[in-house]
Each structure stands twice: as structure tokens, then as C-alpha cells.
Symmetry: D2
Subunit: 336 residues, 4 copies
Amino acid sequence: MKVRVGIIGATGYTAYEAIRLLLRHPHAEVTAVTSRQDEGLSIAAVHPQLTSRLDLPLQPLDIDSFAQQCDVAFCCLPHGASAETVKQLRQANCKVIDFSADFRLTSVAEYETWYGVKHPWPEQVGQVAYGLPELFADQIKDADLIANPGCYPTSAIMPLAPLIQAGAIHCEDIIVDSKSGVSGAGRSPKLGTLYCETNESIAPYAIGAHRHQPEMNDIIGRFSGSKTNILFTPHLTPMDRGILSTIYVRPQAADAKRVREIWRQTYRDSPFVRVVDHIPGTKHVAGTNFVDLAVKEAGDRLVLVAAIDNLIKGASGAAVQNLNCIFGWDQTLGLL
Amino acid sequence: MKVRVGIIGATGYTAYEAIRLLLRHPHAEVTAVTSRQDEGLSIAAVHPQLTSRLDLPLQPLDIDSFAQQCDVAFCCLPHGASAETVKQLRQANCKVIDFSADFRLTSVAEYETWYGVKHPWPEQVGQVAYGLPELFADQIKDADLIANPGCYPTSAIMPLAPLIQAGAIHCEDIIVDSKSGVSGAGRSPKLGTLYCETNESIAPYAIGAHRHQPEMNDIIGRFSGSKTNILFTPHLTPMDRGILSTIYVRPQAADAKRVREIWRQTYRDSPFVRVVDHIPGTKHVAGTNFVDLAVKEAGDRLVLVAAIDNLIKGASGAAVQNLNCIFGWDQTLGLL
Amino acid sequence: MKVRVGIIGATGYTAYEAIRLLLRHPHAEVTAVTSRQDEGLSIAAVHPQLTSRLDLPLQPLDIDSFAQQCDVAFCCLPHGASAETVKQLRQANCKVIDFSADFRLTSVAEYETWYGVKHPWPEQVGQVAYGLPELFADQIKDADLIANPGCYPTSAIMPLAPLIQAGAIHCEDIIVDSKSGVSGAGRSPKLGTLYCETNESIAPYAIGAHRHQPEMNDIIGRFSGSKTNILFTPHLTPMDRGILSTIYVRPQAADAKRVREIWRQTYRDSPFVRVVDHIPGTKHVAGTNFVDLAVKEAGDRLVLVAAIDNLIKGASGAAVQNLNCIFGWDQTLGLL
Amino acid sequence: MKVRVGIIGATGYTAYEAIRLLLRHPHAEVTAVTSRQDEGLSIAAVHPQLTSRLDLPLQPLDIDSFAQQCDVAFCCLPHGASAETVKQLRQANCKVIDFSADFRLTSVAEYETWYGVKHPWPEQVGQVAYGLPELFADQIKDADLIANPGCYPTSAIMPLAPLIQAGAIHCEDIIVDSKSGVSGAGRSPKLGTLYCETNESIAPYAIGAHRHQPEMNDIIGRFSGSKTNILFTPHLTPMDRGILSTIYVRPQAADAKRVREIWRQTYRDSPFVRVVDHIPGTKHVAGTNFVDLAVKEAGDRLVLVAAIDNLIKGASGAAVQNLNCIFGWDQTLGLL
């Protein structure tokens, strides 16, 4: 019998991508999809790509009935709303992979500062596995609740954490300049993500003030003796999907060769990490769960480059990978 | 009588853009267009947008006849080839605005290291006005030969030079992370600039090794007591045009307010510089000669943002602006 | 003294484009901009491209004060709302170029059927000049109210009307398959025009049911003895701007050569019509007021191709051209 | 043991897509990849997306060694060159799925007229199964050589053939207006497919003169008593992939409801055909082997709409589907 997965908040891009991946999964199936706004519509009315693939009605979320229909919830609600729902789902004994930021940080205070809301389930904060199996496999295995990583943090943590841990780079001088496709901004109609606003234009936003910056520092800080000081600048880029992070660091007696060695050693059992000699672009990983990593020496700095698909390794692929880890399946099921 | 401008190497994107701008210029006209490869074709056969606008045949370059037809040459040849032609044009008494990099650097040795060719006219190197009227008006006025700036350098020099000059930022810790539209790569068919290679993808290239890096250091260095040390990373971005440079600097007792003051003071007579409070995107300047500048404080750094149209302020608009300066016309003629 | 133009409903894409064109116009200036939703903001806050170019606050529309500030109104309101305002503007003696469809059709009944609203000023319907100067110059000259044409109709009427008039094609078998950039759908946030919905996708909509179909039949019918029967299918195309109409007609003893002759004869004094031998793409006319027309023979049919910029010849450029005609200026002022 | 598939001419977009699909196939594996121009490089050097997925060197084609390494050839060579190679492969007893047009038409004379080359293996012409399993399953089953359909023809034949067969539409009045992503133009560097030439532009080409027009007539003609007369106009559309065909037909006592019935009946066992009530866009089928079909009534015509992914159902997905049919596997293996 297949593991039954329900998608909470199923009308967005990450939800669609999760469904698409799960339809290909040998041991999992999608058994419920919820939406407040589009209740009653079929999932294919909202995502026409799913016509003939998945025939489920969007239902309003009722925790009890959901927990009877599903073994695992992919919770795609916004922060704040998510933690509240996650709490109820856990009480109903449903495993949860939470796409929101609600359980990613270890500090309630930090969370409340950056997210501007009171945390609905503060006791749980700091107790939840961060869903990067490449770095936190032990915590994810057998977990009942997983904080699915942010898209930008994934592209920064994966190249940086092993180098920080190995002492190969300085903690206090790290710049992460990231470029993301527009799907990262979600599917709610807003002026800023209209085609004619974003097409043929690139622009930074939330410079040094994006909520993913404390997430990067929090997670990478776990690999460091001292706190990291990452300056993060995201850019909205005229493409559907993909994140390219160009990361400027100062080496400590390490060169490009050493960086590649550390990466290859750390990720030797990680099928989705590719340490490449060429310079990757987001198209190389589009539609996949891969993380392509490269490094170049440039004067007294090293420039790290990471490319992911923001909707897959940066969201739904990671969720499926976490699902695989929770159930002890091969990490790559449904993902290659 | 109008000033007669000829375009040498008229089949590329910058050449087209120059023609388009000059067609709107009250005191200039295009009187000759040259091309080796497309000799005999009409200019509109190569640029269909020019149908009914400009009726000139592409001719092979003959210096003498060209100099009789034109008062000024816009020389759009590749480096190396350009300097050779520029020399002949100057000997034939034609004023020249050189779009190539051949006369931008002050050191022949540096040029030959980065460009890998012997300089065809080394005596002239270091004697040529750098065509940023906002910073080098005195040299440009009455000049007979102008080195039209590189597109990326324009986006870096304009925000950085005044701050370096004012001592507001450190010289030795500057990162320029630039994102350019594909037109910057030229119009020659190459795998890397095919639609399906660049669309839906962003990637860095020539990290710390692009020829515009020494140009930035050379020009900005003129405003500094000590040599600057700029690390430059360009990115190919899926859009036709535009450069967005995100620049990471360390302030010296300066904050964002002070930076804006310095910019506004330096550029108080520069109609194309806009110091803005919002964060600019390339679409705000597309099709214009404007440079939009913004600054944000982020931890112990300042993040400068500059947006230009790479084909206009980054190439052909700058050339027309230089033309205006040479002839003592209002800087904005043909450009607003 | 310059003619004073006010823009009513100034926050959309066509309004911006109109302002951009008028800023370059030698005899006109923008003296007022109105918006209900963004009242109080500066126009540059809504259109950052206008920073340093136009310094006007968005005001709510007050007819009396508007009529004192402006000689001419560019009315960019939605249908229904527009006619009501136009009526008041005319009563206040303001000339009006109406961007809406309210005065394009000759029949109130037809209008009310297709637009689903009661016409606010039915007496005026059928009395208003249709703003295609290439075909209706006599009516436009000295007019006080002009119905600015629809974008799709412009791309269909200009190639078809002369051929219908000359009897060169059959009236009853015409298919107009049009492809439009996304800006045609306006600037209000809607799911369907989000970047990730329209990018990398093309789809038809309103097949045989678009409101521009009766407009095409109405206007072209004026050149025909019998009613035309046009089947019109628009497609949303992943690009900012441009309309390409591929038109399938049956010739009546006419071949491609004859079609070109008719076009060249009809449009011999029309500086914006280019009859070309190559096949035009929308990029050839992007940013311009040109209409590129081509024809190919294909079996027993002729295929006509028309390319325009939907925001310029399809909207704001046409408005400026009409302004020029009303005031007896050269048609091309502000437009080349 | 898996069926061994070799890709001949492996550097293009369809070849990559075929490899990507085969990597997911449970019963097939890629065992050889050939290229004349990039001999010696690894396949991942040419397609960086394949890094860590497929480790094979590009080899020059040697028929004997290829036939020993492979049970089936996916032959991605250009027309003319393909037939020659196909002949040798068949003589070496290798099954072949031919991506070229060499065996699609039934008449050698027609082939030589449209393709301008002498057919290298004329005896075979007219003997080869046309690889649309939805319509030619009987011929494909057990075939050793399959003519993989053209991308545009797939999008026209699938909606039209059943209607022609049922007598629901007229044969002699059919217009196919197709819009294709740029990948259909191949991966060889050419001016016309550079990013800056095709981005932000749409244009028709080869109006009534494209080689896929006789293919449509030939294949659809097999379902008709009389010859069809299709007028076909392709358009280059600014997107990577996808074909949208808008097809104008005249019904014979059939309405939209009847058309859907015929489609549903014909394709009742075809898992990749979706008859939909909404209007499909290419994004709904991007990355899939689906054909989405819709119909609208419009005056005295019916408008049929078909959407496919040109690289999948229009090329490599069809090839894998044919492979499945040849070996008697479920049609969907590797494709969902």
C-alpha cells in the first residue's frame, strides 16, 4: 500500500510541482488536496496540466478528515498560518513536511523579529529537523515534522556549510548575491509579478533585509564555532524558475581545488549534488532536484556558484526527498 | 548643415542603436555605413527596422572615401582591428568615437596582457579621452578621438568614482556583481547566445577574469590615491538589454544618505544620472540613456545599485552624448 | 504656447507610453494626470521610468479643473466609464481622444450586445471619427472627439480595408489570426497575466468572440458594398508588446503583386505604413508607430501579414498621430 | 536485460530530450551516442544537464560497432543524410526510429520536390510506419523502421485525421496556423535563432511553403476519400518549446460537441490525448507527451486547437512511445 500524501494549500506553484513529482513516485500517492479559495473546484481546474493525471476536488481543510485520508501532509500555507495548522496535524498524528519558514529558525525571538508575527507553537521551535538530507540526514530519518528549507537558503547553505565546517573560509565576510526566477514570488496576482513588470528586467529587492538571510546564518552557524555574517541580496530575474547564487568568500588557506575536495567529500553519498568544473547556469538544473556547485579563484577571494531549481530542490523536490528519508526509501525515488 | 556621421561595422546591435538615435538627432545625420561581410546589401536588409528610415548601401571601408563622406566615425569594430582603423581615420582627419576597448586603458602592457594582441597604435594609448561626459567633460570637449566606455564599466564607474574620490568607501574591497542582457554578447551566431541556450537561464561567466575588470580599476583608480581592487563577475541574463550592477562596498564613515549627497553633488549638471530612492530595475532605463543609482545599508556594508541600458548609456547613447560634447551641443540632443 | 494634454487614467501601460511620446513632442506637453486608485502619488512613483522626466501628481478627475488645465484629454478609462467622462469633457469644451471602445462602433445595439452595458451617450455613437489617419483623415481633421482604434483592429483594418475597397478579395471569407504581447491585457494584477502563467506559453482566447471582431467588421464594412464576415482569433504571446496578424483571404483576380500595388497606392502619403517584401516580425516595429505589411500567395489563398506595436500604433502612437492631425501638424511629430 | 538504444547525432535538443526520457525508462538504456563534430567529448560536455546522469563519449558513427552496441537507433540526422544511414543500420539489423523526414511521405517524387535532394533509399519510401501510435498502432507494432512524425504535423494530424475520417469537416478548406517555440529550429548557431533576434518577437515563416505542409496532406489524406488541401503557416514564437496549432475548418453537419465525441471515440485508448473543455496553452503540455485538443464554434467555422511539446510529443517523446509500441510495452513507459 502506498503512503498517502495530502497537499494543504494546493493552488500554488510549489504545490503543483509536488503533485507532479508524487505522481511519478512508486511508493506514494496524492490522496487529498485542500484550498480555501478554490474549494469545490477540481485540482485540474486550477492546474490544467493535471488534466487526466489527478482527479481530486479541492476541499477546505478539516484536520480530522484530512488526517484520516493522509499519512503525510505537505503543508504549503504561508508562515504563521502554517504553524497553527502543523500543530493540529501533529496532534492528529499526521506526519508533516512544512514548506513555510515557521520551524526553520532555532530562535523564537529571531522568528518574531523577522516575520512580524507571534509564533503559534513556540515550544516546537528549535526541535524540528531542517530538511536538507545532504546535511541533516540523521535528524530527518524517523522525523514526524520537517521544516522544508527556503529556496535561497538551500542555494547558499549547500556550498557554504561544508566550507565553514572545514574552516576553509572566513565566517564574517560572506556575500550571497542570488538571482531567482519569478515563480519564487508565488501565484497570487500582484503588480510586481505581472509579466510586463518582470519580463525584460532584473532588479534586486529586500537588500540585506530578506527573511532568508537569518535562515542562512542560523543554519550555517550550526557548522561554525562563531556566528556567520552573511549579506544576502536576492534579485528577481526574468525566467520562470531557477536560482543562481554567486557567493563571495574569503578563503583561509584554501584554494578552488581544496573547496572541490571538501564538497566531494561531504556530498560523496548525496546523489543530487554535482561538483562541476564548468560554470553552471540555472538551465542545467531546471526541472531537476540537482544542486550544481562550482568555484573560481578571483584575487584574494573565492567565488562559489550554486544553481538549483527553486521549485524542486528549493521546495517540492526537497519535500519528496525528505519524504523518502522519513520512510527509509532511496533518496532519489520520484526525483530522477 | 548637419554633421555627417559614418558607422564602421554597421551590422551589429550597437550600430543599429546608434543609427536609430542619430535619425532623431537635430544636428547630425548618418551618411555612410560600412560592413565587410554584408557589402552591397542595403542597411535595411540587415536591420529591417530601418526600412524607410535610412536608405544607404553597406560599403566596404575605404578610408579616403569614408573621410570625404563623414565628419565623424562611430567605429564599431572589434578590439585590435579597431585601433588600426582609428589610426588611419585620424590621419585622414576624421573625428572618431571608438566603441572598442583599444584606447580605454592607460597602459599598453595592461592592454596587451588582457586583450592578447599587440597594440596597433601604442603611442596613442593613455592620450585618449574616456567617453563618460559626466566625469571627463573637460577631456571630451574638443577631442578628436574618444574611447567610448565599456558597458559594464559604465555601470560600475558612475556609482563608484565619486565615492572613491570623496574617500567615502574603501578602495580595496569592492565587488561588482553585474547582470547583462544578451545583446551585450553581440550579433555573431554562436551557440552560447542562441535563444534556447540563454532563455530561462542565468549564469555567470569570466568570473574575475573579464576584460572590463581592468577597465574599471584603471578608470576608477584615477579618482583614488591608491589602486582599487575590484572583483567583477558578469552574468548573462535572459533579456535583450540592460545591465544591473549590484556593488558591495565598505563605507568609510559614510552612510546611504551621504552617498546620495555625493552622487547628487557630483552629477548635479548631468541630466542622465538619476539618484533614486526606490530600487531600480533595468526596465526603468530600457531604451534610454539614463543611469539610475540607488544605495542601501546592509550590516557593515553599503550596497550600490546601478541600472543602465547596455546598448544606449552602455554604448551608442554614450557615443551620441560624446558627439554632442565634442560639438558643444546640449548633451541631451537626440537622447530624450 | 504648447497644446496642453491631460491623461485620464494614467497608471496603465498605454498611458505611460502616451506620456513618453508626448515628452518628445515639440508642440504638446502633459499638464495633468489623473487616477482614482493612486491619487496623491507622483506619476513617477507609478511609472519609475518617468523619474526626472515628468513631475506631476496623480489627481482625482475633476472635470472643471481638468478642462482648465488641458486643451486635450487622452481618456484611458475602461469602456462604459469612458463614454460618461467623455461626455462631460466635451461639455466642458475639452477635445478628447478616447482610448476606449465606446465610440468605435456605429451601432448602439451592436455596442450594447458586445459590451454588455447600456451606452452612456448613445446620441454620439456613429458620429465620431475613427482614429486611423491613414484611412479617415478627412473625418479626423478638425474633430473634437476621436475614437482611438483598438489594437487588434488596427492590425487587421490597415491591410484589409484597401483590398476590400478595391474588390481584390472576397468579403465573406476572412480569417484574422492575431498574436499579441501581454501588455495588451493591461496592468491590473490578474492571475492570467502573471509572469509564470504567460511566460513560455502561447494560447488563443475568446475565439470568434472577442470584442474587436465586430469592430473589424464595422470599420472594414465601410469600405465594402456588402458586410464582411471576419473570424478573429487572438493569442496571448510571451512578449511585452507587439501584434502580429496573419490574415487568410481569398483573392478576386488579384495576386500578391496587385495587393502590394493597392497598398502602396492607398498609403502613398502615409509615413507609417511600410509595404515590405520580407516577412515582418513584431520586433521590426517595436517601439515605433509603423505598420509593416506583407503578402504571400499560398494555393488559392493570399496570406497577409501585419505587424504593429500594440502600445504605439495600436494605442498611444495612434493617439499622438490623431493629435497631430487635429491640430494640422505633421503626422510624424513626436513619433519618429 | 534492457533494450539498448543508441542516439545518432546526439548533440541537438531532440537528442538530449530523448536521452533524458530514456534515463527514466524501466526497460531501455542509452548505450551509445554519436556525433561527427564533437567526437571525443563526453555527452555531458555537450549537454551539461547530463552530468552524473550519463557517462558516454561521443563517438563517430561506425555502423558495425554501433549495431553491436545497440538494439535500436534513434537517428537524429538531417534529411538526406538520415536515409543513407538508416539503410545501413537496417542492413546491420538495427531497429531504427528515424527523426528525419526521409520516410514520412509516401511519394518519392513529392519528397524530392520538397526536400530538393535525391532520395537515398527510394524503394523503402511508402513502406515505413508513420510513428503516431494513436493512429497507426497496427503498423508500428513489430516494425523495424519507423518514421517519427514531424512536430507541426503531429499537432495538425491528431485533431484533423479523425474528423476527416468521420466526414465531419470539409477536406479542401483547412488552415493550420501554428506557433512553435524556438527549439524547433535546432541547435546550430544561426543569426535567426539568436536570443536577441527571436526574443520579444513573433513572425511567420515559410508561409504555405513549409515542408511539413505536404506531410500533413499526405498523412491526413490517408483518412480521406479525396486529397486534403491544407494551408500551413508556422510562426517562430519567443519560447523554448511548445507548438500551438490553431486550425480553421468548415464543418459538415458537425458541431463542437460532435467533434469532441469523435475525438474521444478515436482516442479512447490513447493515454496521451486529452480532449479538454478549456482552451489549452502550450504550458499545459510543456515537458510532457500529451496532446491537448479543444474546439470552438465560430460563425460558419470550427476552430480546433492543439497543444503539444514540440520536443516531446513532437519528437523524442513520440520516439519513446514508438519504442514502447515496437517492444509491446505499455505506451506510457518513461513518459509519465
